[in-house]
């Protein structure tokens, strides 16, 4: 008798192997990821031993794919690794070969997204001239934004040199400030539009049109998954950001590359993921069941012709099955030591950062931590007080994340991106507020092959407009892809007769910020 993992393996082969070409890189990936793992794999092996059988048949729907199972095969089928189901296939379909355009510096991305738009002048872009011209509106500062603004409003927060590099950082971020040697500040970021909707879309999807894949989906598709037991793209938000799921859509890319949105308001596994565990059916039962579902689904797919959505759902089903046994672990913050939890501190953003680290360890490609429900950084009034509170809630978690990743040897291969969809005006709105500013704002990168301890680009004297070494959002995306070993001009997807790119028809890699 066999149904459990034996059949399961066959299903797996049929979905990833044989006809779609697992690349050479995959085996290495398996080895790497497997090293140091034991939990799920060990359980899988023991179950498998118990269920190892004489009969290797894969069922009536898989003629010719039966094979003699070896322990190693099974480990491979159950365990992490074996990614590269995206680009490898796509490129082979389009006649090219290869899975990475060049050696990657980073393997994954954590995007700390300050939705609503933080004011650059409070954090990383000191502008002493603001004090001199406080209340005035010199011609340089006479830029139109979404709403009317008045004179210049200096930031009340002081700056000091951070780390040994001495990159200036605000007193609002005392803990993160100590780690400036890890951080590459992009002071000259700019975007196209001063309204939230389009700016959110440009930052996340590379276009203001609501019908294109998100950057996480591009990455997931381009690089494949490192851990088939978890989604390759996870979106954490304690609530719903404006525009919601369109910001992590896979659009025309295969459905499995869509972000898996998890509301982490209450960060315990069972609350994060409804119905994570089946109350009554045991794991063996479900493995038998899911295996057969997969086979029948593929059978269906063959009959009705290609369907990206269906393929996405097939993979989602398989991932879901495995998640039951891994997600409780991946999402369980109680497994962290008290010291680690204290390092990150309290609050939803701290929980998000800590979850992000756990997910990066487990090979999730792209993790977004949205700061909050709605757009908490959108400080149109009472800006200073709000900025202080917001800064306090991110400082400790960000510093902890950087240190923690570094300590675990993961920082070099994990690219951190921090920022909002745009910045805010140095001029005041309604006395105490700041309006949206798409002309110039700060984002920063850390880890993942980035040169830390530097500030790149400049805004004008008042920090309104990026003037030197300007970094458009497309450039940011191009650089991110580059660090992950992907050429943004070659990462294309043919859809409806046209090749699409994350960076559309622009994008420049900021070679200056790539570490040696």
């Amino acid at each position: 008798m066999i149904f459990g993992f034996g059949l399961f393996f066959c299903a797996f082969r049929s979905c990833l192997g044989d006809n779609r070409g697992v690349s050479g890189r995959t085996a290495a990936g398996v080895q790497r990821v497997l090293a140091g793992r034991s939990g799920f794999e060990a359980a899988g092996v023991s179950l498998m031993k118990q269920r190892m059988s004489e009969r290797g048949g894969c069922g009536d729907l898989q003629p010719g794919s039966g094979s003699v199972l070896t322990r190693r095969h099974l480990i491979r089928s159950l365990g992490a690794g074996a990614g590269s189901i995206g680009l490898a296939t796509a490129l082979s379909d389009s006649g090219e070969s290869g899975v990475q355009h060049f050696a990657p510096r980073a393997r994954r991305v954590i995007h700390l997204f300050m939705n609503g738009g933080p004011y650059q002048g409070d954090f990383f872009d000191p502008k002493p001239m603001l004090r001199k011209y406080a209340g005035q509106r010199p011609p340089e500062a006479d830029l139109r934004t979404e709403r009317k603004t008045a004179g210049l409003l200096p930031s009340p927060f002081r700056f000091r040199p951070g780390g040994s590099s001495g990159v200036p950082v605000s007193s609002l971020l005392p803990l993160t400030g100590r780690l400036m040697d890890e951080i590459c500040v992009l002071r000259s970021t700019w975007t196209d539009n001063p309204n939230h909707g389009p700016a959110l879309l440009l930052m996340n999807n590379g276009t203001i049109l609501p019908t294109r894949p998100s950057m996480g989906s591009w990455l997931s598709w381009g690089l494949g998954s490192e851990n088939r037991n978890l989604p390759s793209y996870v979106v954490l938000c304690p609530g719903k950001p404006v525009r919601f799921s369109i910001l992590w859509t896979s659009a025309f890319l295969p459905g499995s590359h869509q972000g898996t949105y998890i509301n982490h308001s209450v960060p315990t596994p069972e609350k994060l993921i409804p119905f994570l565990r089946n109350a009554t059916a045991g794991r063996e039962l479900q493995s038998a069941q899911v295996d057969l579902i997969s086979r029948l689904n593929r059978h269906q797919l063959q009959r009705t012709g290609p369907d990206g959505q269906l393929e996405g759902r097939l993979q989602a089903m398989e991932t879901a099955f495995r998640m039951q046994f891994t997600a409780t672990d991946a999402f369980d913050l109680q497994q962290e030591t008290k010291a680690t939890r204290e390092l990150y501190g309290d609050g939803h953003f701290a929980a998000g950062c800590l979850l992000a680290r756990r997910l990066s360890e487990r090979g999730v490609r792209f993790i977004q931590v949205y700061y909050g429900d709605g757009q908490p950084w959108d400080t149109h009034s009472d800006h200073n007080r709000q900025a202080e509170n917001l800064a306090r809630s991110i400082d400790r978690p960000i510093a902890a994340l950087l240190q923690d990743l570094r300590q675990r040897g993961l920082l070099d291969e994990t690219l951190i991106l921090w920022g909002g969809e745009f910045g805010r005006t140095p001029t005041s709105e309604n006395g105490s507020g700041r309006d949206h500013n798409h002309y110039g704002f700060t984002t920063w990168l850390a880890g993942g092959g980035v040169r830390g301890g530097m500030a790149y680009g400049e805004t004008d004297d008042f920090g309104f407009r990026a003037v030197q070494d300007r970094v458009h959002v497309h450039d940011l995306h191009a650089t991110m892809l580059h660090l992950l070993g992907l050429d943004h001009e070659r990462l294309t997807y043919r859809y409806a007769g046209r090749d699409f790119r994350l960076t559309d028809v622009s994008g420049r890699v900021l070679t200056e910020v790539v570490g040696s």
Binding site: M1, I2, F3, D60, R144, E146, R147, K148, W190, D192, T207, L209, T211, S245, T249, F252, Q258, G259, T260, E270, K271, P274, F275, T280, A281, G282, L285, Q286, A288, Q289, V290, I293, L296, N297, H299, Q300, R303, T304, G305, P306, Q309, L310, G312, R313, L314, A316, M317, T319, A320, F321, M323, E429, N430, E489, A496, G497, R498, F500, R501, V505
Partner: protein, 976 residues
């Protein structure tokens, strides 16, 4: 680099592809050499590149030039004319866009906007072709080209013409089983039975499809299915939202919706009822109930919030939702500034707001005004009881007054020589010796009174609280909404010359005491307790306080009384009278009522109770009610959207550039808005609605951005077809059922949904409609289908929402005892639209499958695919119980159980290979269960089934596993 590889030759295709690139569209725009069209080809370029400085937003306008208006664009401006029809070279617009001089060039270099050569070419060619003006495509009236046949054939023709331009043709018709399941899921949200499918599949009647469609459209399940779409649009929920998120009775409106859809009430009539049912000439309960549509707005019960703030947010939500649902326009940004892309200025926005701003509701805790849903019988009984109550009340008061006169023996009324209210109210002595309180109404108060005492001995004091028989609203307290009083503490002192002597009061008694608020509490020294008289706030009351020691009085003595009233909410005395008695105090009663009065009192009590019973349990649904003419609110712009920062006054109006020839009545009302939306000249409503219906049948709209038909939305993939449907819908009298019938009887709808390599290449997203739609239906359909196949589905209709199982501990109700109690019995298995929707914690089945929270209008559910969904279908207790139900059904079959179970779910003849795979699962699992019977027991308990006697427990448990497998098949979870 333009990553654009073109599939075929020719300059035409090249141009098309480039435009596609620019606009993010994948279909050809202008076909062949036909002249460029303003709305489709030119306007998007101007809109994206020019309008932010030369468009509708007056605050950002540069050089006073508007390029969104024809007259201005073609008139003299500065030294030239921007657009000279037929003369590109003479047009300053062309000179500016082609200039390389940074001071002249448009768009200016610092705008970061760059026109491509193709875009410049389009503008020049259009000017050369005569610069025919027009509006944004969706603001032009829909037209159907001559020669297009009516009905379903018209749909086929318009799709075929697009397909043939690509060398494609309509795909064949889907097989009968698939078609039947498709029609059934699409029209009623439930699958057919195997028997129905068989009879349809084998029917030789050429009219079989039409008959099937007619019969589905006449089913009551039709209304339930389509109501769900409406509920998304209406931001329906069973709670109020915000922090406290307390419950609210909205379900009668949901039932109204189901009724209306089943009766196929036309969209124009429905629109009037939804927006302004209360204003219709013959408005009855049904019409008033309809207006609950716009009472689905959230309300905030959190302490300390400004009701006006949340009222104004609700009114804005009504404006936004109205424009979104009917006209596909996002107006939200015009709350703070004029819309940058569509012609909705801030004044336009607040002009509409001014019309919606005239309703009674004001973010009140009780959601007033509400509509009580009484039956005719209840209504008759209520008015009869009310009449009796009024009559009794008058007679009781008369009798009481007569009693009081007789009871006054031995009491001397004290006259006021000085009175002060701590809160600043006026205390005035009346002719009858009573003291009337008027003027400011503080929430708490302390009355300090100095009263002249007659000579003699005082043994007792009497306080009478008068109910103000002459007042329009009787009541003993000053708060008209709750005319109770709370006497927290009473102090009495005797002032003789300069001497003050504290009087000790004992043995207090009152004619009536509210429970837990006895009159003795007015003497206990505790300001948190006191004497109160609810629920009899509208009757007079009296209390007697004895003096511990009778006090002999000299002539100069005065009584000083301090009446402390600290409850808050202005529960303070309105009119009262003090008297003293000099005789034996022990026998004195606060009020001595005659037999007659007591009788009347008893009768009055009984009638009041009956009245309460008539209303008990009757649902009160929040509805719209117009403010009377003398209470109309003035509307001002909210600067930056802030209600505390009012700008200029605004008159009620329709958006100036979107009136489409419609004139408001005088005074303008919500009814005018409804008529404007449905007016013949309004080109948006018919397009938006037919696109919405189309999308529900094909998985995506002809305009993909169903929520945005404005300048930033997508262009229609087949504009001719969209217009055809729009015209069809209006001409059929806005009948949803007729529109659906025309669409589903088309060959386009009936196409096989299978994909070939050619189709995958030529039309990967099925934008050209080269095949049938294939998509996963919404959360409710998935649930209902699973329940239907399992045999557990309850078709009980309407009524309060129900609570099917959800994970424990999801609801965190800090503020009240509301709990999610998993329903038992048939309420556990009702259709998805009846599931309780709590805005802050919607059921995870809904949200995981893209349903909303009901907080704001949800125009479409954007389909996602995530592992979390598979966890629901695998692990949700409802899924398992459905598997149990299906297994039970299978176990009742004498043979071919697995085959029949599979067939029952998939509604098609099944293949032997599929059955064999499931049979093998069955036998493998059975072996396992035989080895560990406890697992079988646990599974059967979870699935809520009992093993029938005819079958072994292991076999039965294995059937449950097989059933669960079937219910998780993608084919089952898809509509294809």
């Amino acid at each position: 680099m333009i990553a654009c590889v073109l599939p075929g030759g020719g300059e035409q295709l090249m141009r098309v592809a480039f435009l596609g690139l620019i606009f993010g569209l994948y279909q050809p725009l202008a076909v062949g050499d036909e002249p460029l069209r303003f709305g489709r080809d030119v306007l998007p370029i101007l809109s994206a590149n020019c309008f932010s400085c030369h468009g509708p937003d007056e605050s950002q306008r540069k050089a006073g030039l508007r390029l969104d208006l024809e007259a201005e664009s073609k008139g003299r401006h500065g030294g030239g004319i921007p657009i000279v029809a037929g003369n590109p070279a003479g047009s300053t617009l062309v000179q500016r866009i082609t200039s390389t001089d940074p001071d002249i060039q448009m768009p200016p270099p610092d705008s970061h906007r760059v026109l491509t050569e193709v875009q410049k070419g389009v503008l020049q060619r259009w000017i050369a072709e005569g610069a025919a003006w027009g509006r944004h495509w969706s603001f032009e009236s829909p037209v159907v080209a001559a020669g297009v046949p009516g009905g379903s054939a018209g749909i086929d023709r318009l799709v075929e013409s697009r397909l043939s331009a690509r060398g494609l043709q309509l795909r064949g018709v889907a097989d009968r089983y698939t078609l039947m399941r498709r029609l059934s899921l699409d029209l009623i949200g439930l699958p057919p039975t195997v028997a129905e499918a068989e009879s349809f599949a084998t029917s030789k009647d050429p009219r079989a499809v039409e008959q099937l469609v007619d019969s589905l459209l006449s089913r009551e399940e039709f209304g339930e299915h389509w109501a769900r779409m409406w509920m998304d649009l209406a931001r329906y929920a069973d709670t109020k939202g915000y922090e406290k998120d307390l419950g609210r009775t909205m379900w009668p409106w949901r039932d109204w919706l189901v009724r209306s859809l089943n009766q196929d009430v036309s969209l124009d009539v429905m629109t009037e009822q939804l927006l302004a049912g209360d204003l219709l000439a013959d408005a009855g309960d049904e019409e008033r109930l309809a207006t609950a549509f716009h009472r689905n707005t959230m309300s905030n019960d959190e302490g300390g919030t400004d009701d006006e703030e949340f009222r104004s947010i609700a009114v804005k939500d009504r404006v936004d939702t109205t424009l979104q649902v009917w006209m596909g326009l996002t107006a939200g940004c015009a709350k703070c500034h004029s819309h940058k892309y569509d012609p909705i200025s801030m004044t336009d926005y607040y002009g509409l707001y001014a019309i919606f701003n005239q309703t009674e509701d004001a973010d009140r805790y009780d959601d007033a005004p509400t509509l009580e849903l009484l039956s005719d019988e209840q209504r008759r009984k209520r008015s009869e009881l009310q009449a009796r109550q009024a009559d009794l009340r008058v007679r009781f008061e008369e009798s009481r007054t007569a009693d009081a006169v007789g009871d006054d023996h031995g009491w001397s009324v004290l006259s006021l020589s000085g009175g002060k209210s701590q809160g600043g109210a006026q205390l005035k002595a009346q002719a009858d010796g009573s003291i009337l309180v008027s003027g400011v109404r503080p929430v708490e108060d302390v009355y300090t009174l100095t009263l002249e005492l007659p000579a003699g001995v005082v043994t007792a004091l009497r306080l009478e609280a008068l109910s103000g028989a002459g007042a329009s609203v009787p009541g003993v307290g000053r708060n008209g909404a709750d005319p109770n009083f709370v006497l927290s503490e009473l102090e009495a002192e005797l002032v003789t010359g300069g001497q003050v002597q504290r009087l000790q009061l004992v043995r207090p008694r009152a004619d009536f005491e509210q429970s837990n608020w006895p009159v003795s509490a007015a003497l206990d020294g505790d300001l948190k307790t006191g004497w109160a008289i609810s629920p009899r706030q509208r009757e007079p009351h009296a209390a007697i306080f004895e003096l511990a020691q009778p006090v002999p009085l000299s002539a100069a003595a005065e009584l000083r009384l301090v009446m402390r009233q600290h409850y808050g909410n202005s529960l303070t005395f309105r009119q009262f009278r003090w008297s003293v008695h000099g005789g034996e105090a022990a026998g004195l009663q606060p009020l001595r009522l005659s037999e007659k009065t007591r009788g009347l009192q008893a009768e009055l009590g009984a009638v009041s109770e009956d009245l309460a019973t008539v209303g008990a349990g009757v649902s009160k649904v929040p509805v719209l009610a117009a403010l009377s003419a003398d209470r109309q609110r003035e509307t001002r712009l909210h600067r930056r959207g802030n209600f505390l920062d009012p700008g200029d006054a605004v008159q009620p109006s329709l958006p100036a550039e979107l009136r489409f020839g419609f004139e408001l009545g005088d005074p303008p009302t919500r009814l005018d808005v409804a008529r404007w939306l449905m007016s013949r000249g309004n080109p948006l409503t018919s397009r938006v609605w037919s696109n919405r219906i189309w999308s529900r049948l094909f998985g995506q709209g002809l305009v993909e951005t169903e929520e945005d038909f404005g300048a930033l939305g997508s262009l229609p993939s087949n504009p001719e077809l969209l217009d055809f449907l729009a015209v069809e819908y209006r001409q059929n009298g806005w009948s949803l059922k007729r529109l659906l019938k025309v669409i589903v009887l088309s060959r386009v709808y009936a196409q096989d949904s299978g994909v070939t390599e050619q189709l995958q290449r030529e039309d990967p997203g099925n934008v050209l409609l080269s095949r049938g739609g294939r998509f996963r239906p919404g959360a409710e359909v998935l649930r209902d289908q699973m329940l239907a196949v399992s045999g557990r589905l309850s078709l009980k209709r309407g009524g309060p929402p129900v609570m099917p199982p959800q994970p424990d501990g999801l609801w965190r109700s800090t503020y009240n005892g509301q709990k999610w109690v998993n329903a038992e019995g048939e309420d556990r298995y009702r259709r998805g639209l009846y599931t309780y929707l709590k805005r802050t914690t919607p059921h995870p089945m809904g949200t995981t499958f893209d349903g909303g929270s009901g907080e704001v209008c949800q125009i479409r559910r954007i389909r996602t695919n995530t592992p979390l969904q598979a966890l629901v279908t695998l692990n949700d207790p409802t899924s398992l119980e459905c598997a149990g139900g299906l297994a039970e059904w299978m176990s009742g079959e004498s043979e071919n159980r697995v085959e029949r179970g599979l067939r029952r779910a998939l509604i098609r003849p099944v293949g032997q290979d599929e059955v064999a795979a499931l049979e093998r699962l069955l036998s493998d699992v059975r072996v396992m269960f035989e080895g560990s019977p406890e697992q079988a027991v646990a599974l059967l308990a979870g699935a809520r089934v009992q093993c029938p006697a005819t079958i072994s427990q292991a076999e039965f448990a294995s059937l449950v596993v097989v059933a669960s497998t079937i219910l998780n098949l993608d084919e089952f979870l898809s509509r294809r």
